[in-house]
Each structure stands twice: as C-alpha cells, then as structure tokens.
Symmetry: C2
Subunit: 441 residues, 2 copies
C-alpha cells in the first residue's frame, strides 16, 4: 500500500473539546467569540495541508448540573454556517465542515446554505449530518417529546434524499446567460423535485445553482446500528470513536462492507476516527502534560462523570487513593465499567486523576512524541483501522501548533501525508468523485 | 434641521433588481455566484460610507410563466447568512442586513445566526423581518396552504419576542473566564426564556453570548395595516415603497406616530424608502439610459406585467403606439391603473416602453444628474418624507459607481451625508441606542 495516505480533519471547538483546556497556560479563554483566534487556527491548519476544519456544534446549552455548567467553556460559541462562511474568506484550500441537524431544520434551508457555502468557498463545503440526540434541543424547537432514535434516522434518510435532490435542481450547464438572445437559463435544465414522502414534503427547485462540488461532501458520526447503515448508504467520511485499533478495524470492516453491499465503492467512504493528539518531547513528558491538563477539570464535575461511568456514587472514594477493588454490582454497562477499571490500572491513576480524565476527554488518544504518534497513525492506516483521523486538540493554540508543526512533518517524512494540496475542492483532497446529477446527463 | 443627515443602505441583488440589467453593457451577468463582484461592490459601498448592505431574498424560485422565468437573473443566488458572513471579512464598518422569514424558520435558529453574524462582524448585523408572502415558498416547506396574512403577522410579533428574548439569554458581563477559580461564567447571569405562546414554544437559553449590538438592528418592509403596526412596535429601520413625496410624508407621519403611541422615540425608527437611482450627465441622458435599460426587458414578459397592472389583456395593443384611451372597465385596483396611465402620459411612453418599465423596475426613481438627485433627496429629508433611502441600483457595476462616486460626494457637499463613519457598529451609524437587556440590569 505504498501510495495510501492519511486524511486529517480538525475537530474544533474554539477553546478545544477538553473541558479544562480554557484554564491551560496560554490558552485563549475568549476564543468562543474572538474570530482572530479562529482565523489563526484555520490558517495554520491550511498551512499544514489538513483536509478540513470541522466545527462541532450543539442546538442548546447542554444540560449539566450548574456546578459543572458554570465551569464549562463549551456552552456558547459561533453558529457554524456563519463562522465557516467567514473563515472561507481567509483561506483558499482547506475544507469547511458544518454540523446540521435533520431533526430540527428544514431540508430547503439546509440544502440552500450548504450550496451557498460551497459556492462561496469554491467547492470546500461538507455536511456533517446529525440527528441531534440530546433531549434539551427539542425544547428549543417547540417539542416536549424528543423524537425516538429510529424515527430520527428514518427522517434523516429521507432528509438526505431531499437535500441531494434539491442540489440537483439545475444541470451544471443550465445557466446560459446569453445577453444577445436574453435567455438567462434553460428551463429544460431545471428539475422540480416534487418530493412527497413519509416525513417531508418539498416542492423545489432550490433557488441556487448546483454546488461547485456537485454535492458538498457528506459526513456522519453515527455508530449505532441505524447510524452505521445510514453512513454506509450516504456518508463519504465517517467520523467515529473506536476505543482501540481492534475496535476500529471491526468498525472499518463493517461500514466498508455495508457500503459495498449498498453498491458503493469502499474507497468512496473514508473512515476517520476521532483522535486526541498530545505531543511531548518524550512520551513521559506528554503524559505529564495530559495529567496537568486533566487536573484543570474541577473535581466536583469530574467525580460526577466517574460516578456515571461506574454506575455507582464515587464521591465517597479517597480522591488520592487508587480505585477501590470492591466496586458494588450495578446496572452500568460492563464494557464501560471494565474500560474505566482498565484505564485506572494501565495508567496507575488515582480516583481524582481517573475522574478528571473522564470529565476532560476520555476518547481515543495518541499521547507521545511526534515519532510515536506518527508511528501509531501509520499502523492504523496500514492495518485498516482508519483512512485518517479527525484530530482533537487537547488545548489551543499549543496543541494545534504541535500537531501541525511537529506531527505533520513526521507523517510527511514517512510518505503518508500530502506535502501540498493537489486539488482545490474538498472532494479532491479526499479523493472522492463529483456526483453525477441524478436528473440530468 | 442643520444636523439632520441621510442614511443610505444599498438594496442588493448581485445583478441588480431590474430584470433587464444582466443584459446591460458591462454588467456582470455571472454575479449571482461570483463572489469577486460582490466583494468589489460592498467595498465600494463602504468607501462611500453607506450605512448598510442589504441583501434581498426569496425562499423559492419565483412563480413566473416560463417565458419570463428563463429570462430572469433573479431566480438564483447566494443565501444571505452565508454571503453576509463572508462579506463581513472583507469589510470593517458597513452594516450587513439579512432577510429572514418568521413563517418558515425557527426562532432559535434565527436568533443564533444573527447573534453569530453580529459577533463575527463586530456589531454590524441587521435582521429584515419578513413574513414571506409568496405562496410558492410554502410548498418548499411542507405546506400546501399558505398561512393567512393576519396569521403571519401574529406569528411574526411573537417570533420577534422570542428572538429578542433569546438574544438576552446572557448578561453582557456573564462571562467571567477566571482561570484561577475555574469559573467560566456566572449562571445567575444566564436567563432561561421558557417561552410558551400561541404559536411558539421555546425554552432557551440561546447558546451564544449577547450580540455586540445587544440586539442586531431590526428592519421591516411591511406597508399593510398589520405591517405598519409591527414596524411601529419593533422596527428600527423601515424599508418602504412610497410612490411619491406626498405618499411618503403620509406614511412617515403614520409610522412615526404609531411608534410614539407604542411608547417609542420617533428618532429610534428610521424611514428609508426604496429609491432607484440612475445618474446621467444631464437629466435627458439619464432618462435615455433608463429607456435603454428598460428596452432589455423582453416584450413577452413585459406585456404580461402591463396586463396585470391594467387588469386587461394588453397583448393586442400596438406596441409602438400610445396606451389606448378606451381601456375597458376591470377589477384592477383603480390606484394602480391610474398610476400606469399617468406614467404613460408623463413620460410619453409607448405601450412597449410602458410594459418594459413595469416589467423592469417601476418603483420610486430618482433619474437625473448628481445635483438633481441630491436635491430631491434633500427635499425628502427636509420635508420628512424620509430619513434616508434604500438605494436600488439600475445596473451593476456602473449604477453603483455612479451613486457612490457622483451622488454621495454631492450629498456630502450639501452637508447631508457623513464624510466618514463615526462609530463601528450599525447601531452607531444609524444613531440607534443599544437595547438594555430585558432580564439583567
């Protein structure tokens, strides 16, 4: 597999996804509403040739106990479409992925905004399709009852059909603009969708020309059964959260297999696990930085995370002792609980450190030197655990600088990451074909 | 009134609002999806110290006979939020007004996007509240029946309360960001809206800090009875379409009076009639250019406009003769019909020219030299027909260049338009106060 290369996208919150990061030395605690910082971040990512900048999003102030809420920088930030449109003007090549919900928005609006972002950015837009699982969002959109999981996925599938149908409203050559004859466009090259399905009824046509990329790139994060199936049928990049390489390989095989059974090519769907990347001069120094970062998570909110993971109240445990070995039997998922116990043992964490890890960021992490991290990434690529990674930075700006200035050059030295962009659109960066218009040759 | 000055906003479609403009010599027929042109336009408007750039919008491909539709450049363009967010990064001072519908969107989304645009632009956002009157939009949003006019305005009023309530979710000083104590924000300075009204149910809080301007500037265009009342209660800038100075003065008095009766200050609501501005070296040359522009409207679509205005089929009239004097009695509005007859007489227009005027742009127009146009604008300002204008350019880029480089200097020479911006936010340009937070002192 000499030519196989990694794809890298940056999964961003302005202050980082780690809940203690805003307190880290030199962090920009005001970045949620300070565009200067975000412009600097995306320019650095583009200089490092990342495939895309991917903005995380929520449709509510997250439901947390007030003691945790008041310590969280993740509560408020820019709205993704407005932010990414602004950032499109300070960059030229990097992809721009926005999260948009199929449960709390209208397909006409979603189709239109992504098409517009794609035109504005010269073909760099991607849609991260989410079905919005948190019930507090429903109450911001007039509903007491949150839509059931399977209902959300059924609607999402139909929503996708409508949005992609609307993107194909005009043939690529519909706009003639012949000043002499006065014909602006050929109405025979315009398609009226007239969709009437179980959940949605949308006439069309979309009042915007076909996107530069044909369709913006489709991204999805689901790992549930309907989530995997939706991804296999529709997604071109899958953002997932395996815990380790074995889990990743199983997920990779499963989703690629489903895609093939749905009549798609394996290589037209990229598997990009989320990976927290923390760089040090030595593995020990990197681990020390991680403990320092975790220590900034307040114990009150941290211990709540540990209690939830264990399924038992952990607030009575000695914070500075090891995790008790005589945990009571509970209803907590065995997998989740076993993972927590193993984590404490492997890294010799105290109860406090374990709680702060869970309250900070506890997903897949590559913590080490540029060489060790590049080595891990290369292994995942070669063993088909990943086609690349959705990189999570532990803190900003330093964590992003370390990844772009230290890890990326090591990946390039190994020949598994591009030295420069070879195309101009996100589809070209990801090696994805431009979809044919389903209504016009 | 020595200090009274005009406010000028530019009412934009990328190729102009005039339906023949894309065929005009040197026009940018591709501007609907060519951001380079729009960036150039807005930079010129900012250099001329315009208050705001105002993007017209629709939520559908407009319902026209196919013969007219295929000749129209108004069918497709960028979506306003994505466009204005992009343009915020190539400008520093000019206001950015987006149209958003209260009938086909959710208040949480609308509040969030305008707040985000306001943060991204440093306090330059304005919301043009529309209730979306065209029935073809309803079919793009799952509805067969269009909401009745009075129902739309009732919902709009409640929608406004929800959006402004969401903007006030956080006190201006809520975000403490004390790295030492770990407190990111003060939960006592966050308000949960818990709105439950007749049409809307929205919990809140909004997941975004209070906008730079407190609230983005509220703009409205309604001239109907409920439209005027909604404007008087809520709008800070009214975009209206009087036919002449007498009509404008009556509308001005009416809306300002209603605002006072609603407990507001007259000067906190700016009346900005739409005005088509076409400049020539002489009045005759300007009128000639207008005839040339109108002549680019195809006769088939033009004659349909005339038939509608007269309430009778005009396709049998001699295109190159005068309007027949023996028009049959019809159900057409007498005002509209009398206006058309008067227009034909005043400007000695043939049937063809009259039809092309109606099919092109037939609203209030200032057609003349920089001096004559400035004189008219000054009269409207002094006689309280307007606090400024929503300028419509006949063709681009030339019409915009003429207005900014020839009319604006003449207005400045007369002391009725700013030489430079004195503030940084749109509220400051318009002389509007920053609203108090309704939930926090």
């Amino acid at each position: 597999m000499p030519d196989k290369k990694l794809h890298l996208t940056a999964f961003m919150r302005p202050v980082s996804l780690h809940t203690g990061a805003w307190r880290f030395p030199n962090s920009h605690a005001d970045a949620n509403f300070n565009l200067t910082h975000l412009k600097s971040f995306i320019r650095k990512l583009e200089a490092a040739k990342f495939d895309a900048f991917f903005m995380a999003d929520h449709l509510a102030v997250l439901n947390m106990p007030v003691e945790a809420l008041k310590r969280s920088h993740t509560v408020t930030s820019f709205e993704p479409f407005t932010l990414l449109s602004a950032l499109s003007q300070v960059t030229e090549k990097i992809g721009l992925a926005a999260t948009a919900s199929t449960t709390y928005d209208e397909p006409y609006h979603i189709a239109r905004r992504f098409a517009s972002l794609d035109h504005l950015s010269g073909g760099r837009a991607a849609w991260n399709i989410v079905t919005t699982g948190n019930p507090e969002s429903s109450r911001n959109f007039g509903r007491d009852e949150h839509l059931q999981h399977s209902e959300r996925y059924k609607r999402a599938r139909e929503f996708y059909d409508v949005v992609t149908g609307l993107w194909d409203s005009f043939a690529d050559d519909a706009f003639i603009r012949d000043k002499e004859s006065g014909i602006f466009f050929d109405p025979d090259r315009m398609h009226v969708l007239n969709h009437e399905g179980e959940d949605l009824k949308v006439r069309g046509p979309l009042n915007i020309a076909r996107p530069v990329q044909g369709w913006p790139v489709i991204v999805q994060a689901g790992q549930s059964e309907p989530g995997r199936q939706l991804a296999a049928e529709t997604a071109e990049a899958v953002f997932c959260s395996p815990r380790d390489l074995e889990g990743a390989k199983a997920l990779y095989r499963d989703i690629k297999g489903r895609a093939e059974r749905a009549g798609r090519k394996r290589e037209h769907l990229k598997i990009l696990p989320a990976a927290f990347v923390l760089v040090g001069d030595s593995v020990e120094e990197a681990r020390g930085k991680r403990l320092e970062l975790d220590s900034l998570v307040h114990y009150d909110s941290a211990i709540a995370s540990l209690s939830i993971a264990l399924g038992t109240d952990a607030s009575g445990f000695d914070p500075d002792g090891p995790l008790p070995t005589d945990l009571p039997e509970t209803n907590a998922s065995h997998t989740s609980r076993a993972g927590v116990v193993k984590l404490a043992e492997d890294e010799k964490l105290t109860v406090r450190q374990l709680a702060q890890r869970l309250g900070g960021y506890s997903g897949l992490a590559f913590v080490g030197t540029p060489e060790s991290i590049a080595e891990e990434m290369e292994t995942w690529l070669r063993e088909e655990g990943a086609d690349g990674f959705t990189v999570v930075f532990p803190f900003l700006p330093q964590g992003l600088d370390d990844a772009t200035q230290r890890v990326v050059p090591e990946l390039q030295r190994r020949g598994i990451f591009r030295e420069d962009y070879t195309g101009t659109t996100l589809r070209e960066h990801l090696g994805l074909p431009r979809p044919e218009n389903q209504f016009f040759a």
